[in-house]
Symmetry: C2
Subunit: 545 residues, 2 copies
């Protein structure tokens, strides 16, 4: 079959090897096809735009896009709306690889508009495609809308460390047959070493001879491992960034952080690259990315799922859990992983709200949370929600983070000391803080923690605490360090409650602020995981109804 796209009549470099193709600014650029009359100046504008791209001339590039809030530019990562957003995106990327134009189709629309569809051939291989709506303005031809495509890489290293077809096959049949699991790079996977988001750690790690029991439970019922997914370094962050592998995308919030530390499994599930994320939640590492990306996430009761074969961060709080796009799969994963005999019912389900947890969130999240609770009460999905009073969140968080840090240092301090300069600045600063905690201080905080936990138990008294999963929607990747740190503190003051209590917590994708998702969290009594999931599914249905 002659390829439809590359006409023999074209005086373009179609028949030439890519390496020899002249640049887009070559003199002979002629359209492969034209419908209507070729508008004057259009091709020159297109060529000049390609030249500006090749030079990554940001100013020139910005000039080619029509100014204003209606200009559009979309690619696989999402749609940017407005010339400012487009210019901001360009400023944050290194430019495009040199490419030649392989075909060029012009569709004139009247005299002042034209659609250009062009295939390009990057010198680095692959093929690109561009669709642009050009309009003639007093200042010349400008792009009003563009969609851009490039060949995908073999692997998105921001999401994955290794991927297979599958990487580890599950047993035949079973309730999770066909389910593709993204395993956070803290779990033993037979045949692979644990990297913990830290290449230098991976380098000296040895391959596991068997998979972690929490993974084996899934494999046994037919799920397969599609890949080992990235994590923030040693899972000691909730941002979802990693200086080594980069920041995974957040498919629900273009340009937004994915949330961490289970950033890779979350992005994989949100993108449909996996169905289930097998992850850990110490301080909020499942619930934060679930909240930011519109996913379901479950942090299990502390100790309810084996942590054997899982790299620890802070064992007093570390839990295994899952991320999924729907509650049914989350429940199925939990059901085969938890000891169902030890699971407790929640009958009658009693709910609580703590105003402190509402005010810790940003205004939009507060409003969305209150509206959701109102709506669920109005529709009868929630009844008799009680207001409870808890210890000051700032104090709870301080206690939590000190014990967490002491345990993190215990787990990884020797390694961190032996590998200066390896960690990214945020995780490094956390370990630096951790290194300064002496045994007396840690001991005092452990006592505080035990007491805080008792008071939490008493205040909640078997009720299910409803709260926003995070204090905000996904912050922009370009947020200042100060803003990220402020969001971290506010969000951890919410998520640490389940960690302190050893409680299970579900984050369901029920809220939204300005189109970005935020999770609604349910924190239940210890070992009420499955009942909590069932209640959460009911509430989600109520929010959708």
């Amino acid at each position: 079959m002659p390829p439809a796209a590359t006409s023999p009549a074209a005086a373009l470099p179609a028949g030439r090897p890519v390496r020899a193709a002249p640049s887009a600014a070559a003199p002979e650029l002629r359209p492969t096809s034209i419908t209507g009359e070729l508008p004057g100046g259009l091709l020159a504008a297109f060529e000049a735009y390609e030249a500006a791209l090749a030079a990554n001339d940001l100013e020139a590039l910005a000039g080619f896009f029509a100014p204003g809030p209606d200009t559009l530019r979309g690619d696989a990562a999402g749609l940017l709306v407005g010339s400012d957003a487009i210019a901001g995106f360009r400023a944050g990327r290194p430019g495009v690889v040199r490419r030649s134009i392989r075909s060029l189709h012009v569709r004139a629309i009247g005299t002042d508009h034209a659609l250009i569809v062009a295939e390009n051939a990057p010198v680095a291989g692959g093929a690109g495609l561009v669709t642009q709506l050009w309009s003639r303005t007093a200042a010349g031809w400008r792009i009003e809308a563009a969609q851009v495509a490039a060949s995908a890489p073999a692997i998105d290293r921001t999401i994955w460390r290794v991927v297979g077809t599958p990487l580890v096959a599950g047993e035949a049949g079973g309730t999770l047959a066909g389910v593709r699991v993204a395993v956070k790079d803290l779990f033993d996977v037979a045949g692979f070493a644990v990297g913990a988001g830290t290449p230098a750690y991976l380098e000296s790690a040895t391959a596991a001879t068997e998979s972690a029991p929490s993974l084996t439970a899934l494999l046994r019922v037919g799920a397969s491992v599609i890949g080992i997914a990235q994590t923030d370094e040693f899972a000691y962050s909730i941002a979802g960034t990693n200086v080594h592998s980069g920041t995974p995308p957040n498919p629900r919030v273009p340009g937004g952080l994915p949330g961490g530390s289970s950033s890779g499994p979350a992005a994989a599930v949100a993108l449909g690259q996996a169905d289930l994320g097998l992850a850990t939640d110490t301080a909020g590492s499942i619930r934060v990315p679930a909240s930011y990306q519109g996913l379901w996430g479950l942090r299990t009761s502390h100790g309810a799922v084996s942590r054997d074969g899982v790299l620890p961060l802070a064992p007093s709080f570390d839990t295994v859990g899952w991320l999924a796009r729907n509650p049914e799969l989350l429940r199925a994963a939990a059901a085969v992983s938890l000891d169902t005999d030890k699971q407790l019912p929640l009958l009658p389900a009693r709910f609580a709200v703590c105003t402190q947890t509402v005010f810790a969130a940003e205004e939009g999240v507060q409003a969305a949370f209150v509206a959701a609770v109102d709506r669920l009460e109005g529709s009868g999905h929630l009844s008799a929600v009680e207001i409870v009073s808890l210890d000051p969140l700032t104090r709870l968080f301080e206690t939590f983070r000190t014990v967490q840090a002491a345990e993190a240092w215990h787990a990884h301090g020797d390694w961190v000391d032996a590998h200066p300069g390896t960690l990214g600045p945020d995780v490094r600063s956390r370990f630096a803080f951790a290194s300064l905690i002496d045994e007396d201080e840690a001991g005092a905080h452990r006592i505080d923690l035990a007491e805080a936990r008792e008071r939490l138990d008493a205040a909640l008294d078997g009720r299910i605490l409803l709260l926003p999963s995070t204090s905000s929607t996904a912050p922009a990747r370009t947020s200042s360090g100060a803003r990220i740190e402020a969001i971290r503190t506010a969000t951890l003051s919410l998520t640490c409650l389940a960690a302190i209590g050893g409680y299970p917590a579900v984050s369901l994708p029920g809220l939204s602020v300005a189109g970005a998702p935020v999770g609604l969290s349910l924190v239940g009594p210890r070992h009420s995981d499955l009942a909590l999931l069932d209640l959460a599914a009911g509430l989600a249905a109520g929010l959708e109804g």
Copy 2:
């Protein structure tokens, strides 16, 4: 940052979880933004189109695209030109996954045209983007051009079996530092089993403890393995299809076969997902995909590169070689892999053409080949090209394929016998043929082969044979079995010459027919690999000049 794409004002399901989002046909679809005046009937047409997509109603979908040769539809796999090509594409795919519309931007252009840019949210996760140029016709609104994007999968299983970041790191530094190698799934890679394009074979294979020497040679000079790439089953095909993992794309010929059996490494290199393909060539398995995809490929002199740790097909012909986008990398790989002391110069280089090999090719390829030779002679890159006479190609091919089949059966017959129903029909039929060759017949053909080789040596007499790498450009995936078989026979009658002679052969991307690439092959005396590559690079420069 509020996500640019999802305005809070939109009455779209932006704020709802994906699973609950109403279908595109929901009553409340309203644009997120409009510039100009919303043309009557446009939204209804858009909704009806989405509904037809959801139902995969091929007839309705075809009706939405403007009829004629100018209609365009592009996606990551390439650009389709003409409504027939678009309808043909649709007929060959299962339809799109159910999705909701997350944002909808309308740009009216006069009264009869409009651009629609819409983000969608597939229920299976990820995000999609569509740009459509609609025009009002007597029959209603029709799409004149569309670009479509969907989230990429974690791994393209048609190309890869497993991918890492990297999968195996090379030693620090070295001449190939930074080079990403796609390893054909016939080579031992430490820690992984060989699958040979056959899942049932992989299942009972054990992980290699060390990598094949041909791979180690690359790792030692800094190259890293990015992944293990797919092959036709047991490498016993040149089509580039695999019933288990599917057919890799051919980025140079949308809808075209990639060529095999090194289909995965070739597609990976052509797409820029890898820089170098480590592959094998028994009958043409490097040169055919190189030819179809506009790549450089080298089949080395028989025995010049160790085949230890490489699954055999037919040891009398099996060779190791490489695929790359440029001759420099190909030469660098060859230089570290071959015993340079045994390499012979080609001074003076004498060239030969055999008219039989020209006429074995399709007309367009004949014309392109002759024109290229004329041009190279005209420019002084080639001089004194002599016409040589060889044995009838059909007879040479028959001798080759019988010995190949006998050896393939010797290598894999027991396994094939023990696993009925596992192989795809084409490879199965080849093994069935192979199973019928008795020792007497094989012995007779071996004698024929040795004699044929002597006559080839005598006829070529140290000259470099120039010939088309393949008899055609990449055939369409939808070609009939008869056409594929005819092309296979014609192409193998060209490629088997190097196999019979144990000669090195370079395929360079110098020819093109109707925009699709075809390789120009240089077949040189045994152990002239490096000199042949240098000559080939010179000829390629001549063709470009």
